[in-house]
């Protein structure tokens, strides 16, 4: 590779060590050692994951708005729409997902408190899970989420047993499309939760990661309630 080496850049006036402070709000507090590695993020900026998660959620919102508009047009413009009765297990699944969200929120608050307390007693950065492991709520959220997906799978099997397939009628088409797309996004959230638990156990979890995962999971929760209403309502 042709590399032209120029004169070294002039040192910036008043340059200070690029060390991230631990006292920033907005979910950006960093409990890993402030060893100067996080140089590109300055005090005025939240960690990118804090911003990035809203970008991701905006994108997912647009995707499901597109599906919604397709459903509204399809339902309103044709006479072949046969409104199907939703499998009752969906309501139970909804409770599972809501419970998962609650568990995650409890877990998030406990983990944050745990991390802050550890930092304050002179052990900044490295979090060691104590005897009272606050991760148990994270595990609860994870398993409730897995049960939700299993429940959705059961709902698909029940519909199949009734002879309702993807192409049976437009309502069943949208039912499968929306629930499968939501389940795929939930899989992403489950992966995020597993990663959070893994990082917490290895004492490398950052608050911003925990918060971003939490935002995503709550969003999946709200999105499911919206989709359930959309599939239930006769527009």
């Amino acid at each position: 590779m042709a590399t032209t080496v120029h004169e070294p850049p002039k040192p910036a006036i008043g340059e200070e060590p690029r060390v991230r402070l631990n006292d920033s709000g907005n979910g950006g507090g960093n409990l890993t050692p402030a060893n100067g590695n996080l140089r590109t993020v300055h005090r005025h900026s939240p960690p990118p994951s804090s911003t990035g998660i809203w970008v991701v959620l905006a994108s997912i919102t647009m995707t499901f708005l597109a599906f919604t508009s397709a459903l509204v047009v399809r339902e309103g413009g044709a006479k072949d729409w046969q409104h199907l009765t939703l499998p009752p297990i969906l309501y139970f699944n909804t409770l599972l997902l809501l419970a998962s969200s609650v568990a995650l929120e409890i877990g998030r608050r406990q983990v944050r408190a745990f991390m802050t307390a550890k930092a304050l007693v002179g052990k900044p950065g490295i979090v060691k899970a104590g005897a009272e492991n606050p991760a148990r709520w994270l595990y609860a959220a994870l398993f409730l989420g897995i049960f939700f997906v299993a429940g959705q799978f059961t709902a698909w099997l029940q519909l199949r047993a009734q002879g309702l397939y993807l192409a049976t009628n437009p309502n069943s088409s949208f039912f499968y499309v929306l629930t499968v797309m939501h389940a795929l996004h939930v899989f992403g959230g489950l992966g995020g939760l597993a990663r959070v638990i893994h990082k917490f156990n290895r004492s490398t979890l950052r608050k911003s990661t925990l918060d971003a995962t939490s935002h995503y999971w709550h969003f999946m929760d709200g999105l499911w309630v919206y989709l359930l209403w959309l599939l239930w309502a006769k527009l």
Binding site: A12, N37, R39, P47, T51, G52, S59, M62, A70, M181
Partner: protein
């Protein structure tokens, strides 16, 4: 979600293996070059396909040597069938719009220069960034594979209007497997660009170095940032549309296929679908896509012209606001693509109004650029010439947009070559000129060598004249009633237009050959070009403050620049030179505009 700690870890360790360094690289600069390389291949493939189309339009029954090798059924004896003409047209448009005009000015240059221009050492989510390229590349391979699968690629045009695109092989060659591959490729492309947009937005918002306020960002960063926001919303809508289209093919659903549809004497097993639904979903993406292709070019051209003029544009803020207005309005105008779709005429009026309004920010951008040129001591080089060419093409192509914005005129012209001339100039050639301008301007930074200026100027002159020779006659053809998408002109009233088509074909071949000069210049300069000085254009932005060309792995050699000025400090009174770099601590008379 990749966090900053992971990013920092990446930044601290430069990979040594070939795979990690050059193939599955996390470095935004390598990813930018990968995008550029893919766009370069795609551009020449797309150009070659346009040659095939033009030869067929000029000499319909002529055998093209070797074409039979590509498709025995599509070109028996080397003579293109009508269906194969449409297949090639569809692939030309799809490749050019998605894999050239979107990837080169946005994904390629944006990846390489956005982090450097904001003073960061990389994107915040480098793994997503790497995935962004490879998913996009997979989409390109899937699309190209349709040339070699079944009865070839889809013939439905880059808009893939339903129901033709949704009923399967019964609708013609390529309408089965070809459409499925097309929709899969575009779906993958959407995922890739969504991942890219995520990185661009977060880099701009969160990774700016000390002193780099939003108003100190160069036009390029603003353009990439605004384009990312458009991409985030537009591609998120096209992807579900592609999913529904694939399901209509593979699962027998009826999202886009209406009832009682008969194709080739066969009643289709679908019911109740909406053909207009596809158009709404597609054009909600499709019109912002026009701006996704052109706004980065506007940023690049503004950046290059400011440097070449040695003075700032008339107004930094009005330019940025205008780019933002384009983005907002681009979502409100998409219905103007559907004036002839059978849409309610009231809707046409509703979409016509913002279509005319969007000419205001477009005009403001052009007037700022032209007004800034007044009295400027412009430095003429390949980059600035292509930047000027961009303005010329954008004005020429934009003026015809005024006519097409009105439903009463558009109904007459919509299916003619007038529209082909319009969008090729305003979006195709203009965006290509933006890509060329960016290449000549940033090549010294990307490879540490200068491109040959004589060859660059020859490339510009031939391309500029050639583009006008190709696309201006299209307007005349359209006004003469020459319908587009036809593979031959057998009607009596079209016969006199065939010589003009032959002229366009010759012009297209010669202009295409001129692009080989560019390719030669690119390859030659990459290895044997004159070593580049640190700041060959005497520019002010941060990419020219890196310690070497190309920049080191972490861009600024482990230190971070501090920004003291807005990005356009040229010809400042009392300054030690006629430009002040953003990192310079030198005081200037009067406040920065920002």
């Amino acid at each position: 979600m990749h966090d900053v700690a992971g990013h920092a870890a990446h930044a601290a360790h430069e990979p040594t293996s070939f795979i990690a360094k050059h193939v599955f690289s996390l470095d935004h600069k390598v990813i930018g070059k990968q995008y550029y390389g893919m766009a370069l291949i795609a551009a020449y493939v797309g150009m070659f396909l346009s040659w095939l189309m033009r030869i067929h339009l000029g000499w319909t029954n002529a055998a093209i040597p070797g074409l039979e090798t590509l498709s025995k059924t599509g070109a028996p004896g080397g003579v293109m069938t009508p269906e194969y003409y449409l297949q090639i047209m569809t692939m030309h448009a799809t490749i050019m719009v998605f894999f050239v005009l979107t990837t080169a000015p946005f994904a390629a240059f944006g990846n390489y220069f956005l982090p450097i221009q904001v003073g960061a050492e990389d994107m915040p989510f480098p793994h997503f960034n790497m995935m962004s390229f490879w998913v996009t590349f997979a989409g390109f391979l899937v699309l190209m594979s349709s040339f070699f699968v079944g009865d070839g690629p889809t013939l439905g045009g880059w808009t893939q209007y339903a129901p033709l695109s949704a009923v399967g092989a019964v609708a013609g060659p390529g309408q089965g497997t070809g459409v499925v591959l097309w929709a899969t490729a575009i779906g993958l492309f959407c995922i890739g660009q969504l991942l890219g947009s995520l990185n661009f937005i977060t880099t701009t918002l969160d990774m700016r170095t000390k002193g780099m306020s939003m108003w100190r960002l160069p036009y390029t960063v603003w353009a990439w940032f605004i384009t990312s926001i458009m991409g985030l919303t537009a591609f998120a809508v096209l992807m579900p549309a592609c999913i529904l289209l694939v399901l209509d093919h593979l699962a027998g659903t009826s999202f886009f296929v209406p009832s009682n549809l008969v194709f080739n004497g066969q009643l289709q097993p679908h019911s109740g679908g909406s053909t207009l639904l596809w158009q709404h979903l597609f054009w909600f993406f499709g019109h912002p896509e026009v701006y996704i292709a052109i706004v980065p070019g506007m940023g690049i051209v503004s950046h290059i012209l400011t440097t070449s003029m040695r003075k700032p544009l008339l107004s930094h803020r009005v330019m940025v606001y205008s780019l933002g207005a384009l983005a907002v309005l681009s979502y409100m105008v998409y219905g103007h693509h559907m004036f002839v779709s059978g849409m309610n005429p009231v809707s046409s009026v509703v979409f016509s109004f913002p279509t005319l309004v969007i000419t205001i920010p477009s005009t403001i951008i052009v007037l700022i650029l032209l007004g800034s040129l007044y009295g400027a001591k412009l430095r003429i080089n390949s980059a600035s010439l292509f930047a000027l060419g961009f303005i010329s093409m954008f004005i020429t192509g934009g003026i015809s947009g005024f006519f097409l914005a009105q439903p009463s005129i558009d109904i007459m012209l919509h299916a003619t070559y007038f529209v082909v001339g319009h969008f090729h100039l305003v979006m195709g050639v203009a965006a290509m000129f933006g890509i060329f301008a960016g290449t000549y301007f940033w090549f010294p930074k990307m490879y540490g060598r200068m491109m040959n200026e004589t060859l660059g100027k020859a490339h510009f002159i031939l391309s500029f004249i050639g583009a006008y020779c190709i696309f201006m006659p299209f307007h005349y053809l359209g006004l003469a009633g020459n319908v587009r998408r036809y593979q031959a002109f057998t009607d009596d009233y079209l016969q006199p237009l065939i010589p003009l088509h032959r002229f366009i074909t010759v012009a297209a071949i010669l202009t295409g050959l001129a692009q080989l000069i560019f390719l030669y210049n690119l390859i030659y300069s990459r290895f044997w070009g004159k070593p580049a000085p640190a700041n060959p254009w005497e520019a002010t932005t941060l990419e020219w403050s890196t310690p070497s060309s190309p920049p080191p792995f972490n861009n600024f050699g482990g230190t971070f620049p501090e920004v003291h000025h807005d990005p356009h400090q040229y010809s400042v009174e009392g300054a030690s030179a006629d430009y002040i770099m953003q990192t310079s601590p030198e005081k200037v008379n009067g406040p920065d505009e920002a």
